[in-house]
Symmetry: C2
Subunit: 349 residues, 2 copies
DNA sequence: CTGTTAGCGCCTTCAT
DNA sequence: ATGAAGGCGCTAACAG
């Protein structure tokens, strides 16, 4: 058996002995919390190097009450992780690492408040990042009275005094309308998410829809909305209903990725050219996912990486005792033109 | 300020005092490592409940040398996290959780061996999961002589005595050929990954290509391979070259997601119908990504979730002292028919 | 069945 | 500028 057994890690005591100093001096040399003579510092550093000393994370955490760990709470069973979610994770991980923190992935059902309470009580993590936040989210209360700092990606209805980062959904509709109106579209269809989601208070949905409708009315744009489940099939049906009701629609806004694919399929089958016959613009779909559709979709959406990064940074700010009364960030909508919108066809009445 | 301050967590000592027993008895009541009279157990449990006691993870880890944490080392900067990678993560997280372990996300450049060494020396994690394994992977040696148990997702060239899970790439080509041959295709194009990747020994590439070519030769199938970079543009060019060289191709195998999209675009522009005029089959693209293309692609690939799950389970097995000399797992290729392949058109000679 | 006693490896307040 | 000593909260022998 050439299998190497666990080599014993050098401990602070070993370093102290070898350098001929006390253990605490070694600690101070490490943290720089108090002045050390250059000479002893060198001896210590050399000892550390030859011993390959690395402070033990557990002991450090236990003694200092600082684990350097953050939890990223992500919901399981919901609608599963999608690509955008993943952008958060990656960006948050990187941002946390820059500040010396590691991210722990914690799969947790939103309703499972009991184990969340237990999890934070364990004292493993210093702070928590929450994904897939609901309008009324039971996890918030648990975290709040556990005293653990946390930051939401998304927000609750009642989040004035919470730390969060979110997309500024209220701007999506107006931005889309301006873009389409500039191209001459005045009769626009929308394939949005299911009514169930909206009625459940799903933030992106409710925050987007009203400003869109309000502005359309003021601008005199005709809007026809269809709510569809998040399936390709539902998208096909929605598109068919939409075009039956409003044959003169010249542009389509989608806020429902799978349904949009369905609409694309039907349009393709009917020989509708995009953007010559119909302009398409889609909301909130991640860059990569959107590149997959043929043709690629012009998009107004959220920069997942920015959100993830900001979330981690805000959380760390809280940990470092940032006393700003409020730490909240709304990302500007991200417009990516992939050529699926164009001038409105003429002669549509 | 109604802001709740960190409530002091009850400690084992508190429980012991309240229950009128010694501290160690509390521990034993928790772990069940030694018999406790029903009566004292009840007193203890009640005390725990009223105090809301939860064992401190750090202290537990320090004393027992078991943190309950696993690291998932994922490479940054490479080609970025894609959706399939994410399936590993999600599945591994879930599987680890079932065994009582948490997954720590550790972004780490493959070459950054120094910080990897440091990371494991910290003693934070009990084991490591490695993603994006290279044919020659410097991280393996570091882990091996750190004595930290680890499991690869993928494998190195020299992995006889390593613990790993990987797809059985050698079967992909044959499976694809059989499928296409059954439909009457004997002149097949391949848009594969860049030669750079292959020359660097990228496992999925090299392990797939040779068996594919070998079997094609034996079956008398004409294969024309184009290597393209992972971009849509490169895919367009590859497809154009391919069809210029071999106008009689009736089927196309893609092993390069973005390039495949490019090929699809060109095909669409030329009015080539799939699968009537051209059958398409794609390798190793994740389910979700594949559903995004229009038309959807028939795929031979890997079940990312299975891999992630197995990886976590194998690692935990190692941690639990599973002495099986070898723990290695190859997943069967996963064939998903999405209708992009069909009978070869006639009269192509 | 239960209690006592060392640690685990490090941080930190007190001394000097 | 440096040491000594007392925890942090828990595990795991060692004693009854």
């Amino acid at each position: 058996m050439s299998s190497t057994k666990k080599p014993k890690q050098a401990t602070r005591a070993d370093v102290a002995k070898m350098a001929g100093v006390s253990e605490s001096t070694v600690s101070y040399a490490l943290t720089g919390v108090r002045p050390i003579s250059d000479e002893t510092r060198e001896r210590i550093e050399e000892a550390m190097k030859t011993l390959g000393y690395v402070p033990n994370a557990m002991a450090q955490a236990l003694a200092s009450k600082k684990s350097g760990l953050l939890a990223l709470l992500f919901p399981v069973g919901e609608r599963g992780f999608d690509e955008t979610d993943f952008e958060y994770v990656e960006a948050a991980t990187a941002a946390a690492a820059e500040d010396g923190y590691q991210l722990l992935l914690w799969p947790n059902a939103v309703e499972d408040v009991a184990s969340l309470r237990k999890i934070v009580a364990q004292g493993l993590v210093e702070g928590v990042l929450l994904m897939e936040v609901r309008a009324q989210d039971p996890r918030v209360e648990v975290l709040r009275d556990s005293g653990t700092p946390f930051c939401l990606i998304g927000r609750t209805d009642d989040s004035q005094d919470l730390t969060f980062v979110d997309a500024d959904f209220s701007q999506w509709g107006p931005m889309a309308l301006h873009h389409l109106l500039d191209l001459g579209h005045t009769n626009i269809g929308v394939i949005s998410m299911s009514s169930d989601l909206l009625e459940a208070g799903y933030g992106p949905g409710v925050r987007t829809e009203k400003p869109l409708l309000d502005l359309a009315k003021r601008l005199g744009i005709t809007i026809t909305i269809k709510h569809a489940k998040a399936t390709i099939r539902a998208g096909r049906e929605a598109f068919e209903e939409l075009t039956a009701e409003q044959p003169d629609i010249t542009a389509l806004i989608g806020f429902n990725e799978p349904a949009l694919i369905g609409a694309l399929e039907v349009a393709g089958a009917r020989g509708i050219n995009i953007p010559e016959d119909l302009s398409m613009l889609s909301f909130g779909i991640s860059d990569e996912a959107e590149n997959m559709t043929v043709p690629a979709q012009t998009t107004i959406g959220v920069d997942g990486r920015e959100l993830g990064r900001m979330a981690a940074q805000y959380l760390v700010a809280r940990l470092n005792g940032d006393k700003k009364s409020v730490l909240q960030y709304l990302t500007q909508p991200q417009f990516v033109d992939r050529g699926s919108t164009g001038l409105a066809p003429l002669g549509q009445k």
